[in-house]
């Protein structure tokens, strides 16, 4: 081998090797005498939880633990599983690849930003896992990534929850029709077009599969003169959806569009689908219960655009009582800081029990992300993602005090130093100020399509 090539190859191999050798940090901790809100097995009073090597090893009382383990006295405090946000845009450098109504080939895993202060702020609110999603500009958007909030690493891959199955973003209604139909004069311009785009995409994927099958059959035959088909990662991804390897998480608001996608999925035999936002999900709750992996909703957001005008804050309660797997998500750098409070609102709007309300931010989003065998409840054998509150987490007065991911403490209110940034721009002479309006959200990175469009369409968030 040429030396000139060999040297970079060695270097690259070394870099690669060191990267892979860097293991995810896992910790040990012994939390004593807490009110343990297990989620799946009721509330256990004065109970100890022992996390060993990142995994919940034992739950009980008077456990014999090693002398050198860190002990947390949690008497009178409330321990719950790390909160899971099924719809977030935290730790992403880009949100929307708004260049086509279908962009199934793009991956949010390629744009993870480990320096996002939002990760730390989420931890300070007890959120340990977020589903970092593509935006809602396209009928079929990019592939999302499930992140564990291992704040402090500079390596984007360390944030990825490796066990999590693949998921993809779909979007219905105003956003894709505005971006493509009205913004670029491309289908879809209406909810009819959204259905057509999705069906056409699925049909194209099926044809693509048939073309490859024909080629694979032909290529080994003698005197084969056929040209191999062109590889398409977009269509490969759509096929993976049809074959049940990817869970759809679909941005949606109105009952009609939700119902439409349920029908489309039935036609193509797709049953791994979660509806997100789903403001009018309550109108088709029995259909959602029968045909989907559930709904991930806002606690009380409405009226910020027309398609959410006929909403109700009782949505989560109606869905829950109709047997829909329901979660409450943030879609916001702000709400992700207090999802426990968002869940508590279902007690005012619909009177959900403590168990039902807490499930909305733990085991239910875990199910919707396909990660419930590892996280979402306090059970022996599950991952040591935990948050300790001074009061019951559904109380307005509750303050998260400590948060662990894989048994490692990433947040401690007592040790919280003011500036938690991992990276400071050395050229920054004036630190920008963010007032409450500046959230990263579903429609980020698409504003440039609307320059001179007459209205400020960037205002249309989520």
């Amino acid at each position: 081998m040429n030396r000139k090539i060999l040297f970079p190859v060695i270097i690259l191999t070394l870099i690669n090797f060191t990267n892979q050798a860097q293991d995810i940090k896992k910790g040990d901790v012994f939390i004593q005498n807490a009110h343990v809100l297990t989620i799946t097995d009721g509330v256990k009073e004065n109970t100890d939880v022992w996390v060993r090597n990142g995994i919940i090893h034992k739950i009980g009382s008077q456990l014999r633990v090693p002398n050198d383990i860190v002990v947390i006295d949690a008497r009178g405090k409330f321990l719950m599983p790390g909160i899971i946000d099924a719809h977030s845009h935290v730790a992403l450098e880009a949100i929307n690849e708004a260049s086509s109504p279908i962009t199934a080939e793009v991956k949010m895993g390629d744009v993870i930003d480990p320096f996002d202060i939002g990760i730390y702020r989420a931890l300070a609110g007890g959120t340990t896992i977020s589903h970092a999603m593509h935006g809602s500009a396209n009928a079929i958007g990019g592939q999302n990534i499930t992140l564990k909030h291992r704040y402090g690493t500079f390596n984007p891959d360390d944030l990825v929850m490796k066990e999590a199955p693949r998921t993809i973003k779909f979007a219905l209604g105003e956003n894709p029709t505005r971006v493509h139909g009205r913004g670029k004069n491309l289908q879809p311009r209406s909810r009819m077009g959204v259905e057509a785009v999705i069906r056409n995409g699925f049909e194209e994927a099926i044809q693509y599969k048939q073309t490859w099958e024909a080629w694979n059959k032909a290529k080994n035959q003698k005197n084969n003169r056929q040209v191999p088909p062109t590889f398409s990662s977009r269509l490969e991804t759509l096929l993976d959806i049809l074959e049940g390897e990817i869970i759809i998480h679909c941005h949606s608001y109105r009952a009609d569009e939700i119902y439409m996608l349920i029908q489309v999925c039935k036609d193509y035999g797709v049953d791994k689908i979660v509806f997100s936002h789903v403001n009018e999900g309550f109108k088709v709750a029995p259909e959602l219960a029968n045909n989907t992996m559930g709904a991930s909703v806002f606690s009380d957001w409405w009226a910020y655009k027309f398609e959410v005008y006929y909403s109700t804050a009782y949505n989560a309660a109606i869905l829950t009582k109709n047997g829909v797997i329901t979660s409450i998500n943030s879609d916001s750098a702000e709400l992700i800081r207090h999802l426990y409070h968002e869940a508590a609102k279902t007690q005012r709007y619909g009177g959900l029990s403590d168990e039902e309300a807490l499930a909305l931010i733990t085991i239910n989003p875990a199910r919707q992300l396909g990660i419930d065998q590892w996280v979402g409840s306090i059970e022996e054998g599950k991952q040591g993602d935990l948050v300790l509150f001074d009061k019951h987490p559904l109380s307005i007065y509750a303050i998260p005090e400590m948060t662990w991911v894989d048994g490692i403490k990433y947040f401690d209110r007592k040790e919280d130093k003011t500036d938690q940034r991992l990276k400071v721009d050395p050229e920054e002479t004036l630190e920008p100020m963010f007032l409450h309006a500046d959230h990263v959200n579903c429609m980020s990175n698409v504003d440039f399509f609307f320059t001179g469009f007459g209205r400020n369409l960037f205002e249309h968030n989520h």
């Binding site: 009226a303 909403s311 109700t312 009782y314 005012r348 963010f434």
Partner: protein, 430 residues
């Protein structure tokens, strides 16, 4: 023993009120004499009164005391429930916008940077869907504000019941001003530090020029001179005369210091609003004796370098330093979250009692309506609500709201949708 039938009747009555809309009945707010019996009364100004009655007559709190005579009053049993004065949101856009993204329904911003005479009350839609959604939470009174430019317009205090803006008028106006900011506005602001500074200084110069014009206008007017029709100046002159207060929106710490400097030699009635970074300059605010309306509390820290809880602790830090603090949501459709904003401030240092004041008595005082609102005292407006627990707690239910003596129907579109769809009649075939 003779109390039992009345109790049963009043319970029935309550139930009827809560669920009558199932049968398609229209329930309107109605005025009457109501005797609220045996409540835990959170007066705000006189502590908590246990097992006490409160009589509503002619829209006012007519009496507070033990075992008030029932006479012909409609009796509402409040055993194990609490009474609070209606909550007051110190800053919203309620009534001025119906659907946030649709310009056709936005009535909070006029063209031009200097429009102090634009009246928010004119554009308040008494039938905005968000109004009944808000008031069933116990938020009865809000300041609704125009926005944009140096002087966006005149905010109005409204009560959340009434068929015309005048009926909703709670008797307070404030001229708004946005103090020119020398802060970099988020990561999209590509201006250099120098440009930002220069533009802020230029903005203040423009405001000074307007101020001088208004001063001249007032001087001519006071000396009996002829003045042309100049509504902007005529309105600002009212601020100079002390007829209307000036509410200055200012958030960055440096801007707050500059705004304090700007108001120092002006003999006007001033309140600072926003004040997101007030915690950095609390002492300056105390020294200048400036009151603030701060919020939203449920917000992101204003700087990436700030502690994660700075928006939660801001109100508390200001209050403890000695600043009079009112809390606002800066919301439109979710003004109903005001008690939760106050609750977070309470949890992060302010305590429940002070946080309650920040959404009752303090805004009432800042809005010069403390003789009518902000506490439960005889002679004040019967603007209050009945809850089965701490209204900051999400699980607490608000059972009845009264505004100016009107018994408010405890329903709205959110509740009606719940009633219709909780158990849908037509179920899918499997």
């Amino acid at each position: 023993m003779n109390k039992l039938p009345i109790l049963l009747i009043s319970l029935l009555f309550l139930n009827l009120q809560l669920y009558a809309q199932i049968d398609g009945d229209v329930i309107k707010p109605f005025k009457g004499d109501f005797l609220l019996q045996n409540a835990r009364i959170f007066t705000i100004t006189d502590g908590i009164l246990e097992n006490t009655d409160l009589l509503i007559q002619n829209g006012k709190i007519a009496a507070i005391g033990k075992d008030l005579p029932e006479e012909n009053h409609r009796v509402i049993d409040c055993t194990d429930k609490r009474l609070y004065p209606g909550f007051i949101d110190g800053g919203t856009s309620l009534g001025l916008v119906e659907v946030n993204s649709l310009p056709e329904t936005q009535d909070y911003m006029e063209l031009g940077k200097v429009t102090p005479q634009m009246q928010a009350l004119t554009a308040v839609n008494p039938n905005a869907v968000a109004i009944p959604v808000t008031r069933v939470s116990g938020v009865t009174t809000v300041l609704t504000q125009p926005r944009g430019g140096y002087f966006p317009g005149t905010a109005a205090l409204i009560q959340l019941n009434g068929y015309t803006p005048d009926q909703m008028d709670a008797g307070f106006r404030a001229v708004l001003m946005n103090f020119p900011s020398a802060a970099k506005a988020g990561s999209y602001d590509s201006r250099s530090a120098e440009t930002i500074q220069k533009e802020a200084e230029k903005g203040l110069k423009e405001i000074d020029a307007i101020w001088e014009k208004a001063t001249t206008y007032l001087q001519i007017q006071e000396k009996g001179g002829e003045v042309d029709y100049y509504p902007e100046m005529a309105h600002l002159a009212k601020v100079l005369k002390g007829e209307l207060p000036l509410f200055i929106e200012v958030n960055a710490a440096n801007d707050i210091s500059n705004a304090l400097e700007w108001v120092k030699d002006k003999e006007i009635d001033v309140v600072f609003t926003g004040v997101a970074e007030g915690w950095k300059v609390a002492e300056e605010l105390v020294e200048a004796n400036i009151s603030v309306i701060t919020g939203p509390v449920l917000a992101l820290p204003s700087r990436q370098s700030d502690s994660y809880d700075s928006p939660y602790t801001n109100a508390s830090i200001l209050q403890k330093a000695g600043v009079k603090v009112a809390i606002r949501t800066q919301e439109t459709e979710n003004v109903r979250n005001l008690p939760f904003h106050a609750g977070f401030a309470a949890a992060y240092g302010m305590g429940t009692e002070e946080a309650l004041k920040a959404i009752t008595l303090h805004p009432a005082e800042l809005f010069n309506v403390a003789d009518k609102l902000g506490s439960l005292e005889v002679g004040k407006n019967a603007t209050l609500f009945l809850a089965d627990g701490d209204p900051f707690e999400p699980k607490t239910q608000i059972h009845q709201v009264f505004i100016d003596g009107y018994k408010i129907p405890m329903t709205n579109r959110h509740i009606r949708l719940y009633q219709e769809f909780l158990d849908r009649e037509m179920k899918p075939e499997n």
